[in-house]
Symmetry: C2
């Protein structure tokens, strides 16, 4: 056990490994292919490119790759790990967890004493996994080893409006004390409710049922609720969102994140105890209630304009991966954190506080914040994600026709057994784990591309 009856210092994220597919489709080309108006995906949704997986990858292989690379790139030993929590909504088995598949990597080390399982609710599972790992490290059950949190998903939609909001990726985060990204104690708010905005009741399909309009309303109302509680927890009656240095959001598509950034400014207005003093020009809005405005175009436009600078400064650069890989469900909000860290000059990072809003349909949501501490640990962390842009640029663009065929094939063979993927491993980055075979009893075998 750790220091008896004392929480360790600076518990948070020690290292990040972010992985995404080598192949992507261009959203402008997809607009043309789908025969929709120019700009519908690129401006309307704010998306540039979308990563996707062939039949070579499933949720197990994505998580194997993320974990294996995290261990290798940070010179860790498998003996160093005492807990693994996996967040995902890409379910290939109703009983057997991804976590157990990952245990194969620990075979040679003989370390099988590793707590933690898979946890699921739409895009929120990674955050629940992180919270569970953080609590473990502060608990009497912690044995001074490190935790790993893995969030990963393959997000694919049926042909139609929602398809351009897909993506695929996974993140593995090393969690422990003395971290350069410290999760702030006492600053966490949560809002959960029973709704059917996005769900996956058709277990034979990878595609969800989505009520797009309801989902936006749920996302924004959860944001309102979490922000309200978070503000109270800061114990600062004059707290405003720009008192943080950055704000990252779960990103189903980038445009919703920009609207959410503006929404927080609108919240600051609504929650302001002295509107007349601070917002004399908004006199006409003084009686507006948050819950009446989810689809109020005038208010949205007003605060998007007023909030442009706040968005540009605090949030825009966090959308690098979200705009170029797409929605990665549980991994998305952490792609935004990684993007912010890798696009901000390293010497500007120490001391910065970042707000994080995590949302999963159904619904589960939380807001919390992290503070960045300078020093060699931070240098190491930045180093571990510094090649993200380079890696994005090194991907292979695939035509919308080919992309559509690959998704079609994926859907048709999803539950085949026995099954051997037919795609060439040339489509994978080096070091990627892939599905090599499913036998007649549905047992999956994996191999690694050297």
């Amino acid at each position: 056990m750790g220091d008896s009856n004392k929480w360790p210092e600076d518990v948070g994220i020690l290292a990040i490994e972010f992985i995404f597919p080598k192949e992507y489709v261009d959203q402008t080309e997809l607009e043309q292919f789908d025969g929709v108006s120019a700009g519908k995906y690129t401006i309307g949704l704010g998306q540039k490119e979308m990563g996707f997986c062939s039949d070579l990858e499933d949720i197990n292989s994505l998580c194997l790759t993320a974990l294996n690379k995290l261990i290798e790139n940070n010179n860790l030993k498998y003996e160093d790990i005492g807990r693994i929590d996996v967040g995902t909504e890409t379910i290939v088995d109703k009983s057997k967890s991804v976590k157990t598949v990952l245990m194969d990597l620990f075979k040679d080390s003989g370390n099988f004493n590793i707590e933690g399982l898979d946890t699921t609710n739409a895009c929120y599972g990674g955050t629940a996994a992180l919270f569970n790992a953080l609590s473990w490290i502060e608990s009497s059950y912690w044995d001074e080893r490190l935790a790993v949190v893995i969030a990963g998903d393959i997000a694919v939609y049926a042909k139609g409006n929602a398809r351009p909001t897909g993506g695929a990726g996974a993140v593995a985060m090393l969690i422990g004390p003395h971290a350069p990204i410290v999760v702030e104690r006492g600053l966490r708010s949560t809002y959960m409710a029973h709704v059917y905005d996005f769900y996956k009741p058709d277990l034979t399909s990878e595609y969800p049922i989505v009520d797009g309009q309801l989902s936006i309303q749920c996302y924004l109302s959860a944001l309102d609720a979490c922000y309200k509680t978070y503000r109270v927890k800061t114990k600062d009656p004059e707290f405003r969102i720009d008192k943080l240095d950055a704000m990252v959001f779960h990103s189903p598509y980038c445009k919703l994140v920009q609207k959410s950034s503006a929404r927080l400014l609108f919240n600051d207005y609504v929650l302001c105890p002295d509107k007349q003093k601070y917002y004399p020009e908004l006199e006409h809005l003084k009686d507006v209630k948050l819950e009446d405005t989810y689809f109020d175009r005038d208010i949205e436009k007003l605060f998007l304009t007023r909030g442009q600078k706040v968005f540009d400064t605090m949030t825009k650069k966090s959308l690098l991966l979200a705009s170029r890989v797409g929605n990665m469900y549980t991994a998305s909000v952490y792609s935004c954190l990684a993007s912010y860290l890798t696009t901000t000059p390293a010497d500007e990072l120490p001391g910065k506080r970042i707000g994080i809003f995590s949302y999963g349909s159904g619904l589960a949501s939380s807001m919390y914040s992290v503070k960045i501490k300078g020093g060699p640990h931070l240098d190491k962390l930045i180093n571990s994600i510094c090649n993200i842009t380079e890696k994005l640029d090194s991907r292979k663009k695939v035509s919308p026709r080919e992309f559509s065929d690959i998704l079609q094939k994926r859907a048709e063979t999803l539950h085949d057994a026995p099954f051997t993927p037919s795609t060439s491993t040339d489509t994978l980055f080096p070091g990627t784990w892939y599905l090599s075979h499913i036998d007649e009893k549905h047992r999956r075998k994996y191999a690694r591309k050297t």
Copy 2:
């Protein structure tokens, strides 16, 4: 937050609510119906009766019932709850968690700030849920509210050998400090590995794929591994299993539990540093290795005989629910804990230490222990489960033919939408939540039997 930087005292289980179906099938009658040799299920597996659900119940309704009754029977307010963790492997949606459905019960209270999600790996999910709740209460994120851990499953098998090992049930446990059942700090061991002993890759079916022989081997090897580490953590070089007062196990069927009890005695022998002194009569076994003995009938028989008294004293009465309701997957090991508590005279409980072995195929396993503290909290807890035997006796026996038809209908309509269950609510205990309708978009509606 709680006492800053200090774990609260006596964190553990404050109350238990155990629910099971009103209808059951008799295992002797099932033997006759299935045309197998007399005693195959009743003596070979050690099972007496098996509970089952009609199309009126799903995992959401089971958990709604358990949570609602826990709150009612303990005069709690929904505002008192700060966290809910659900463990289940009965998946009806790949994205939306059971936890979010439970949030409907909190509507009137306005309490939506409740952490925790669903966690999954076969029968182990409830234990992972419990561990997460315990850690939260010891962490800086705890806000002095109570946690609820819910473990529930509907265990059904295709016609054949495995069908008599089904069951259904759920447990809701109230978790907090100053508990009468205190989870012992520092005494927890975990063993996880990647195997395909029992899994559910056919997402269209409620039935698992089971490699029965492998599953027994995995269960026993996990027991060996967990026990070895647990023994080390007791820091007592002379620790033997009978230094605990009771030992409860995950029970897929009762006979395996008796074998597991004997297996721990065999472990005590193998791990004994001075076999010649303490076990002179077992000289012929001195070179035997645990991993060579999973199916060694002679050793099994020898230790079953030697261990009869230990089993009778420490474990037998924990099998009340397991033998009369059957396997309830994540809820099973907690059914054993509840059975032990309800069948032991209340005045004998204070001071007793109970070992708990939780196993989930795939695999994930842990051993830990609890200590019982006397006082009014214990009286309340005992009171909350004192009617289990009475409730078991008040159930309705259904013929194997009818049982088989109900399971057939369940399998056929499992994914229908729209769908309205046709079974009468007469088949439910009062206070049971049930599925009233699934609409064309697969949205489930629930109602409560008054």
